[in-house]
Symmetry: none
Subunit: 149 residues, 3 copies
């Protein structure tokens, strides 16, 4: 557990977030969360790449991607206010005619722009890992927010 696996989910997500090729995943304004355009993500990450051999993920279902985010401790932040200012003007349709869908805003304390050093703390929340993370503390209360809908 000293380095990150470049083929595992955290590294893949990091590359997606910092890639200029994939526009469906990007940092929010403060670089502390991810904005994910569901429709565009399904098109350019899950489905298109699956045609050739360059698939990033094996799944074609967006829900499986969300399950991964949750398994690695990401939490959904907000629905309405996840939109960045410049997106509010265009109102749902980009200038290039590519329709955009709902934006999901996810956050993890170990996933911040310009802080690749934090990635090593992104652990899959298995029973073993959960026990190691808080071996004596109450595992129920979440640090920042009580519920995030």
């Amino acid at each position: 557990p000293f380095s990150i696996n470049p083929e595992a989910f955290p590294a893949k997500l990091w590359r997606l977030a910092n890639s200029s090729r994939f526009r469906s995943v990007r940092w929010d304004a403060r670089g502390q969360g991810l904005l994910i355009d569901e429709q565009q993500f399904v098109s350019e990450v899950l489905k298109e790449a699956a045609e050739d051999g360059s698939s990033i993920f094996k799944t074609k279902n967006f829900t499986s991607f969300i399950r991964q985010l949750n398994l690695y401790g990401f939490q959904k932040l907000s629905k309405g206010l996840a939109v960045e200012p410049q997106l509010l003007s265009g109102d749902g349709a980009e200038a290039d005619g590519r329709a955009t869908g709902f934006l999901h805003h996810f956050h993890s304390p170990h996933f911040c722009r310009d802080r690749p050093d934090l990635l090593v703390h992104l652990k899959r929340l298995t029973n073993a890992n959960k026990a190691k993370s808080a071996p004596g503390l109450a595992p129920s209360s979440r640090p920042g927010s009580p519920r995030q809908r």
Copy 2:
């Protein structure tokens, strides 16, 4: 329970009360209660916003909004008319032609102008929350923290 959920009812109500865009919800003279113009509220908050994707609430019924107020501990103050004196001059029809309706006057001890710190005490009156509010009884079973959410 350390911060408020910006997507839950208390935060939405707070933003409505302090917004200059929405005129149907405003503080009363002492900043200790809310004045809600039913007709205007239905128009500008429930129905108009529902057309695009910017709905604050999913409901279009004013009574559902009232149910939320009650669920969060608000109580209606005025049996008769909660109209403030200076508002009576306009008397039912604003200068811009927008008709105004009856004003509802609601109050909660945890919802005061200039006291956003009190918002954390605005709890939904579920059975679980009510049990916690009245200790001494065995709520259900919260030894350490059996749940993860």
Copy 3:
């Protein structure tokens, strides 16, 4: 519990399945399960109808619809392809140019074509209903099938 609520989920789903207007939900070949085209369903049921006031559901998320199916006891049947033979000819794009997505195949013993009388048994799987369904059995094991995958 003597009649069905025409505004609740089972009745809505029944109308969708038998409607010729909505093409995204239809019976499978034997009339014992539902085939649901996700992309088309989102377009014609969840999003389009939400623009005017004719929304069938309040949600715009397909996952919320799936949650309802599971809450009412529906189970997913096919993991691979639920596509019926005659649908394979069109192969992903209908004649009118509307792209079709993955088909979900769901089944409930109480939801069969030409058997509207069974609908009354479609109960929401709340704790109360589950207790009534099996008032002496272990509540964890499912009646017919242990797993459906």
